[in-house]
Structures are given as C-alpha cells and as structure tokens.
C-alpha cells in the first residue's frame, strides 16, 4: 500500500533541520512518497517510525508456498477489483480417532477425485491429519506415516506440544503445516514450527484473543502463520473468516494479514450436503485452505468449477484446451463442428450440441481465448490457423467424416478454408449457437456434402477420384489505381492539407476504413474504390490527421490489396498519411514499399508485448511508426503490468535503432459497461507514458461500446478531454463525430498546441 506524503510527514521529527538535504521535513516527506529519496536519508527517524513505515509499505497479506501450492498474497476483497492471487485449496480430514479401517478408507478415497477441467487439474490438494486428545503420540505418528504415502502436503492438526514434536519428526521429508498454536501453547508450538521451518496455524477462542496471540507470535519473531477461523459454529467460522480478511485488506490490520484455514468437516454436523454448501460458502469468502471429511465427485464437480470461475483473471478470458471433444458419443464417422477456444463459446456451443442429441466432434482451435468474430478480426481465427490446427491435431487421421462445419459468423472464411483443406467439405453453420439444435436434428448440414470421406471403401474413393477437384477461390488481380481528379463530396472538393509531422497537435487517426464494416469488406473483396474513397473523403473533410486502413486478415491477397489501398488513398488525397492495420505482415511491408512519406511516416497498427512483438522489428526495419499495445495475452491486470509491457517494447524499439517518438503506446481503452472501475487506471497509464516523454494513442471510443448512439459522442468527448489532460497525443477514432472533433480542437487550444482564433473549429 502506497503511503501518502502527509502520512510520512507525521512520522518525521518535523524539525526542518535540513540534514536530509531537503529544505523542510514536509518537502522531504513528499519526495519519499514519490520514491525520489529513500527514507534512510533522514538521520533522525525513530526506529518506531521506520518500522511503521516498512509495515505500511509491506503487502497487506503474507504469501507462502507449501510445496508447489501457494497461499495468501491477496490484495482485494472482490474479484472484480483485481485478480485473486491464491485459489482456495481443499483438504480431506483423517483423524487418529478413527479406527484403522476407517482411516484406510478415507486415505484410499482421496486420490479418487482427480480430473482436468479447462486446463486445470482438479484434485484434493492437501490432507488434514487430525490428532484427538485421547489418542497417543504413537497413534498419531502411525497415521502420519500412512498418509505420507499419498505424497500430498499435510496439515497437522494437533495442539499437544509433545505429540506435535513427534508428529513433526514423523512428517519430515514432506511439505506440511503445523496447525496447533493456541492462546496457551503458542510459544512452544512456535518453537517447533520455526525449527521445522513450517507454517504455524493459530487458533483462539475469539477474534480478539486470536489477534493478541498473533501479536505475541510476531513479537517473538514468527511471521509464518496461518489463521484457523475456528469450529465453534458455522456462524462463528463465517464471521471470523470474513472479519479477518476484511481487517487485513480493507482496514490495513497487518496482524490479520495471513491466509486462513477453515475446517468445515468439524462444523457440518456429518451432513454431506451441508458440507458441500459450506465448501462453496468458504470458497467464496475467504478460506485459503478448506477442510472437508470427504471429497466426492458430487461435491467436487460444482466446487472446482466454482473455484475456477472465482479465481480467474476477470480481464482474461478462460480458454479451453484445443483438441477434439466428442459429444453425444461421437466417433470417427461423426461430423466435425469447429469453433474457438473462448470458454464461454465452448460452453455455449457444446451445450447446444448436447441438446441436439446428435453425435458431433467439437473441434476447438486455438484463438487466444477470443470469441469467434473478435478472433477473426484479430487474425487469430483464420484459414491458416484452422489449417494449422487441423494438421497439428491430425484431425484427418483421427476422423473419417469429412464434414467440417464452421461458425456462421465467419461464413466469409469458407472459401479460404476450403482452398487449404480441399479434402474436406467446409459447411457453414447458422449464425447463433441456439440454432444448432434444429440444424443438426434436421441434418441440414448433410445437404452440403459432396461425398468426401477418408478410407470409406474403394467405391467412395474411386468416386472421389473421378470428381473434379473444386476450383480454388479466384483471386481477383488488383486493378490499376483510379485517380478521380479533385475528389468531391457533396460538391465540396476534399483535399488533404499538407501537414508538419513535427507538430504537437493531437493526431486523429480515422478508423472508418475497417473491414469489419460490411460495406468496406465488400469493397475490398472486389477492389471497388467507390466506398473506400467516400469514407476517406468524409474523414479528411472532418479533420482526420491519419487514416487507418484495416484490410482484415486478407490471407490470400494481403500484399496486393494493401498496395492497392495505399496507392488509391494517397494518390487521390495528396499523400494522406496512413496507418496500415492488419495481422498480415507481408501486407504491411508491401504497403510501406509504395507509401509516400510527404505528410508523415507510415504507422504499423499494431504490435504488442506478446505474440505480435515482431511488428516492432517490422516498423524499425521500415522506418515506420508503430502502435505498441501495452498488453501481452489479454488486457494488462494493472498499471504495473502495463508499464512493464511499455518498457519491454520501448527497449526493443530503441535497441533496433528506433526513435522513442516512433513508438506510440496504447494503454488499451476499456469498455465502461463492464470495466467502469478500471477507467482511471487507463487514464493514469497515459499520464505515466507522458511523464516519461512517450507518445500514446488508442481506440478511445471503445469506452462507449454498447451505449446508445446519442450517448457515445458525449462519453467519447469527455474521455478525450480527460486523456489529453493526462498527455494523450493521438487517438484512433471516428473523425465524423463532430462533438468529439470539436472537443479535441478545443483541448489543443488549451494545451497551447495551436493558436486560438474565433474560427479555430473550422481550420
């Protein structure tokens, strides 16, 4: 937790002695708060003040490793604020009070639940070994020796000091926690735990007593603790679990800044369904380790799914492992339905396929966890990615059916996929998953079959052989560039005015030539210059500085199409500067080859700190500007991560000989509907770029996605004003939004980027 300057000031001697080199204690405190000088610069700080400071800057909750398992380290109470750090771990309890047969039964049951769900292994992570007061140390040691065979980390539940000593010796060699300190024995228990270098579990009769005991343990130097919320009652355990976590994270009470352990086996009253309810309750709030009497599939299936949901990064999509998922008993002769690896898409599609009761092989291909259309637009779900997937997983070898049903939303890919997979019948499914049930039940997909099959007998293959191979999709060669002469829009001539590339004025990159728009997609498919020139003219007339040219993945004709578009736009509009926007690198390079730099360097849109980092090299090699997205795989979780990506990309660019001015950092604007509480992070990131003298840009209007049409200009204008205040130097927006453009021009006046005149809006 960052301390404010005034908080630090209160701890200084307030003598203004200047020994630290600052004129006053206040000035010194402010510098310390900014991290400009270390606190040790002041020779007069009391030891108490220093420890308060180090305490205040320490993380609010300790984090530990037990073997490979992680515990604690949380910083927030709700998952939407920030990703939780350590998922709840589950343990099954076994006690020396059980007879041998029962012990063996419990131990044997533990490995039974073990499965994978969305790339995560689901199993009982730990074993809670309980000691009952009426049993001997030998009984307990014997049990520990038995449980050790499972090879899982243990929690030793034992409050008897002498027995604990023997138990710790017996547990040597495996990872474990000693859960046994209470108000009376804490000193001895702490000594045992410290010597064994293990975490010590602490319990007490009340929260107040627990707090005192932890303070005493800390004073004795033991800060490797875990807090037992107690087993007095369900109500008590819940109240303690919540209040301990809340005290640590919300109220800054470091004494309670430890992970927790909840023994629901002891409070469920032997009721298995109640135990299920409690496992769920304490996974929600706030058990670090939750102990139950038995883990069955009935309990586990919802529980592990719930945990997976709660502990995912709220900003990173859950991904399903790519591969073949047979549904409704599908076999090698069943048709294939292809989709992306976004978990929600998977659940939706697989659910509908199940409802159809038709056997289908669901093929999940890697699309970076994006939904179908988003993945397609980003070039993550393309004919090449599908081809790669089909080869990598040897689908043709594993499945004999040759029906490949693709999502209706990407019907446009059909031709390209068909070209790359000529032995398959590529069939377009309906647009929405719910329509799949009827589509499959009525066997509509069969209408598109041409009789292709693998190894389905000589007759079939002979028939296939005589059948002429389908003609590959025709690639239309780019026509010559049409220059219309002065372009007129409603009788007004539109020209691009010469621009000084070194101007400080805000750079508006017009976003409207984008293949996700059906009109543009169609125009690009057929090299029809009309709609493209019209949109360019509209944006230039409205005041765009640059035009973005998004040609989509353009797998078959990228270079040709980009060269055509670049020349078409530049020759018609006085060499308007352009941002070349596609996942197709060859297309960007080809575009730059024919690009005229009169009004500014070309912009490569875009690179990121993950799989697209090579686009920085592409920009460097071609003396271009690059838009650098401060993300790697999904949205950065906080500004620390954003700045890390920023610095990585900056370093790379500089090493390649780029000027820092040619890297425009994109913080990634977030949707207000959905991420309202993260908007200030984006604004602060822009400030951080600006403070480091870096340029920035981004798709600012993403903030208002999903809002009514009349609201969007209002939100976009307010945000652009706030962003420009923070130092944003450019944005990828719709220049035809008048309110937005007026706001930008006005802000340019306030920022002294252009001299005011009454007609400043018109120029």
């Amino acid at each position: 937790m960052a301390l404010k300057g005034l908080d630090i000031f209160k701890l200084t001697p307030k003598t203004n002695c200047k020994d630290c080199g600052s004129p006053t204690c206040m000035a010194f405190a402010m510098k310390v708060a900014q991290g400009a000088v270390p606190i040790e610069k002041c020779p007069h700080m009391s030891a108490e003040a220093l420890s308060t400071l180090s305490e205040a800057t320490a993380p609010p909750m300790k984090s530990y490793k037990v073997g490979e398992l992680s515990l604690g380290g949380e910083t927030v109470l709700s998952r939407h604020e920030k990703t939780f750090v350590s998922k709840t771990l589950y343990a099954v309890s076994v006690c020396d009070c059980m007879d041998e047969a029962k012990q063996d039964e419990v131990i044997a049951s533990i490995p039974k639940v073990d499965y994978e769900r969305i790339s995560e292994r689901m199993y009982v992570e730990m074993v809670y070994v309980n000691h009952s007061a009426d049993k001997s140390a030998d009984d307990y040691v014997a049990l520990i020796n038995k449980v050790k065979g499972l090879g899982r980390p243990l929690v030793l539940g034992c409050t008897d000091v002498a027995v604990a000593k023997a138990a710790v010796a017996a547990a040597a060699g495996c990872d474990f926690i000693l859960n046994g300190a209470d108000e009376s024995n804490y000193a001895d228990m702490s000594a045992i735990a410290t010597e064994a270098k293990v975490l010590l579990g602490v319990r007490a009769a009340s929260l107040e007593a627990l707090h005192d005991t932890v303070e005493k343990l800390e004073a004795a130097g033991n800060k490797n603790l875990i807090l037992d919320v107690g087993t007095a009652s369900i109500k008590d355990a819940y109240a303690n679990a919540v209040q301990i976590r809340r005290a640590a994270l919300k109220d800054g009470d470091r004494t309670f800044g430890y992970p927790s352990i909840v023994n629901v086996a002891a409070i469920a009253g032997g009721n298995a369904h109640m135990e299920a309810a409690l496992l769920s309750l304490f996974t929600c709030k706030y058990g670090s380790i939750v102990v139950c009497s038995e883990m069955t599939y009935a309990k586990a299936l919802p529980l592990y799914g719930l945990r997976q949901n709660i502990f995912t990064d709220p900003q990173k999509p859950m991904k399903v492992t790519p591969g073949i998922y047979p549904i409704n008993g599908a076999d090698e002769n069943s048709p294939c339905c292809l989709t992306v690896d976004f978990a929600l898409t998977y659940f939706l599609v697989s659910g509908e396929l199940e409802r159809s009761k038709c056997p289908v092989n669901l093929l999940i291909s890697d699309a970076s966890g994006m939904s179908v259309l988003t993945a397609w637009a980003a070039g993550k779900f393309s004919s090449s990615s599908v081809k790669k997937f089909m080869d990598e997983f040897d689908i043709a070898g594993k499945i004999k059916s040759r029906a490949l049903i693709i999502p209706g939303k990407v019907a446009v890919m059909k031709g390209e996929i068909q070209d790359k997979l000529p032995e398959w019948d590529v069939i377009v499914a309906p647009n929405e998953a719910v329509q799949l049930v009827k589509y499959l039940k009525d066997e509509e997909w069969k209408k598109s079959l041409t009789g292709k099959s693998a190894g389905a007998g000589a007759a079939a293959s002979a028939a296939a052989a005589t059948e002429p191979a389908p003609a590959p999709k025709k690639v239309i060669p780019a026509p010559p560039i049409v220059v219309t002469g002065p372009y007129k829009l409603e009788d007004q001539v539109v020209t691009y005015k010469h621009r000084d590339a070194s101007s400080n004025r805000f750079v508006v990159i017009g976003e409207r030539i984008h293949c996700i728009s059906p009109a543009i997609r169609k125009a690009m498919d057929s090299y029809d210059e009309g709609p493209i020139l019209k949109r360019a003219a509209e944006q230039i007339a409205a005041g765009a500085t640059y035009l973005d040219v998004n040609i989509g993945p353009a797998e078959s004709n990228g270079p040709e199409l980009m060269q055509w578009a670049v020349q078409l736009l530049q020759q018609n509009f006085n060499n308007v500067p352009l941002a070349l926007d596609t996942a197709n690198k060859a297309a960007i390079e080809a575009g730059i080859k024919v690009y005229n730099r009169e009004n500014g360097k070309p912009i490569v849109n875009s690179a990121d700190a993950g799989s697209r980092i090579d686009n920085i090299n592409l920009a460097a090699a071609n003396d271009a500007i690059v838009i650098a997205l401060c993300s790697a795989d999904g949205i950065a979780k906080d500004n620390e991560e954003r700045m890390m990506h920023c610095h990585n990309m900056l370093e790379r660019g500089l090493a390649l000989g780029m000027e820092s001015d040619d890297l425009w950092f994109d913080p990634l604007f977030l949707v207000v509907k959905g991420m309202q509480d993260k908007q200030m992070d984006v604004l602060n990131a822009i400030k951080a770029f600006s403070d480091e003298g870096l340029k920035s840009t981004g798709g600012l209007s993403n903030n208002s996605n999903g809002m009514p049409k009349h609201i969007r200009p209002i939100m976009d204008s307010a945000l652009v004003a706030m962003c420009m205040m923070q130092g944003l130097t450019s944005a990828i927006v719709n220049p035809c939004d008048q309110r937005l453009m007026e706001t930008i021009k006005s802000c340019d006046v306030f920022k002294n980027n252009i001299l005011y005149a009454d007609s400043y809006l018109d120029i």
Partner: protein, 312 residues
C-alpha cells in the same frame, strides 16, 4: 494493538419487499449490511427460498420424479412443493407456453395459475416461457386472475418491461422482477425505466442473472457484488431492490446434474450430484448478494435452509 471490530454498516439499505398475503407473507431485503453479514448488524429478514415448479411434468432426475409421483397437474405439484416446511414461496414456471414448443394457450396457463392459487397459501412467483411477447400477455392475464394475492411476476426484460410492469404492477397491484443477464448497467437501466413509468421502486425485485457453478458463474459473482456495493456503498436507490436468483433451472440443465450414473459411473448417483450442484451454486449466490434463491430439489431446499438458519 488490540483488535477492534469495524462493522461495515451502511447508511443506505436494501428495499424491503413483501410478497404474498396473510401469515404466509414473506419479506425480502431490508438489510443495511452485506448479505449474511450478521456480525455487522442484525438482519431482520433472512434470505428466502423458493421452489421452482414447471408446468412441464418432465423431471430432470429420478429423485425429483419420485417426489412428484402421483401429481398430475401443475397445481398438484405446486401443492406438494409448497408442503415442504423450508419453502418460503412457490415459483410456477410456464415452460409449455413457449410458442416454439408446446405453445400452451394463455387461457390454460391462467387456469393453471388459478388452480395453484387455490391450493397454495404461500406467496406465488410466476416465471414465463422466455418468449417475450407470449410472456407479456401471460403475465398480464395471470396478474389479473390472481389480483389481491400480491404475487411477483418474474420477468420484465429490456424487450417487454413496459407491458409487463404496466399490467402486473400498475393495473393489478402485483410485484415485478426486473430481469437482466449479468449486465450491471442494464440492471440499473431497467430499474430506472420501470420507475420512470411511474412504478414505485419498492414494488420491484431484480433478477440480475444466474448460471450454474463452473459455467461463467464469475459474471454472476461480480454482478451480484457490484450491485450490492453500489446499492449500499454508493446509496444508489436505483439498485436497492432485493435480488431474487433462479438457481435450479440453471443447475438442473448442466451435465453434472443431468447425466445418468451409467454415463460416468465414478461420478456416482445422479440426484446426489444434482443436489450438490444446486446447493453449492445457491450458497455462492447467497454469499455474493442474492436475497432469495429459487431451487428445485427438496433436499437442496432443506440444506440451504439449514445453512441460512446457521448463519442468522
């Protein structure tokens, strides 16, 4: 430093919404603390449990089929369901009214609803068939037929809130549930729109979306938490309506609950799985902010009732 409890009591509170009439009437909401946080301040109205009864006699598990054995009509099943001690209200669901399915007539639905009201003295909640145009008419007619019973019609959605709120609340004095699907902005917008029609916000409950544990439930978690945080922490009166969450219809539709034991022998008994899926999902909903949950299995209802009682 000794530990000092810092109860998180808010100046704002969740609206108290009463359903039903007479001594079986129930009140949802009313608290000025987060759900189940009785250690912060006493909670006068514990979370409530409804039972989901469909007009479709088909049951998703052998245990549920056994429970309703001998019942031939919706009223029979509703009566049987209402007889469970832990049931606070009965939610009747007209699945068969779906025009793309059995397309049961509005008249038959109304007759069913009347028959239910004859034999059930606990509060009644009405769910439709998910077809917005059919539901608008259905809710209107049922609201009219059960006037004076103080029922809740569950679904006023973005597409049909006007018709539903106008008939159910304004014409027949019933309560209405504003339904959105894990979209907090829409949840708020719907409440604003319905109150702008002239409906008192105190007649509105919210269904902000539901899912089975493991099936995108994180969106339910964050929506519930953020609604309560805005309602209490920011005193946002447009989000202070109590939240009612249908759980059973989601959990009894996923394979963990519907797959027979023969599909996956190591998974064990189907009813046991379905119950735990329902119980765990419901417990999570209650922990994050639901003021009422609607369940299907008698054993789930018993367990969740015990859980609530233990926490109050």
């Amino acid at each position: 430093m000794p530990f000092a409890k810092k109860p998180q009591v808010f100046g704002a509170s969740i609206n108290a919404l009463t359903l039903g009439t007479g001594d079986k009437a129930i009140t949802l909401g009313g608290q000025n603390v987060y759900n189940l946080y009785t250690f912060d301040a006493p909670i006068a109205n514990r979370p409530k449990i409804g039972i989901d009864v469909s007009d479709d006699p088909q049951q998703p598990s052998p245990g549920l089929a056994a429970f309703y054995e001998g019942c031939t009509t919706l009223a029979d099943r509703a009566k049987k369901a209402a007889s469970l001690e832990d049931v606070d209200f009965v939610c009747i669901r007209f699945d068969l009214a779906d025009p793309n399915g059995a397309d049961k007539s509005i008249e038959d639905c109304v007759a069913d609803a009347k028959a239910v009201a004859e034999v059930v003295d606990k509060p009644i909640v009405v769910a439709g068939c998910k077809n917005t145009s059919k539901d608008t008419e259905l809710f209107g007619k049922v609201s009219e037929a059960l006037q004076g019973k103080n029922i809740l019609v569950l679904s006023a959605r973005e597409e049909d809130y006007k018709g539903v709120a106008a008939s159910a609340v304004m014409a027949y004095g019933q309560k209405v549930g504003a339904e959105s699907a894990v979209d907090i902005n829409l949840a708020k917008q719907l409440n604003v729109l319905i109150t702008q029609m002239g409906v008192d916000g105190h007649n509105i409950a919210m269904n902000v979306g539901s899912a089975a544990a493991g099936y995108g439930f994180e969106y339910v978690v964050s929506t519930l938490e953020r609604v309560k945080a805005a309602a209490l922490g920011q005193s946002d009166t447009t989000l202070q309506m109590p939240i009612i969450t249908p759980v059973g219809n989601e959990t009894w539709a996923v394979k963990e609950s519907t797959a027979p034991e023969s599909d996956n022998p190591e998974w064990g008994d189907q009813d046991e799985r379905g119950i735990d899926m329902e119980v765990e999902t419901a417990a999570a909903c209650l922990a994050y902010g639901s003021d009422a949950v609607i369940l299907r299995h008698p054993e789930s209802i018993k367990t969740v009732a015990q859980l609530i009682a233990a926490l109050m």
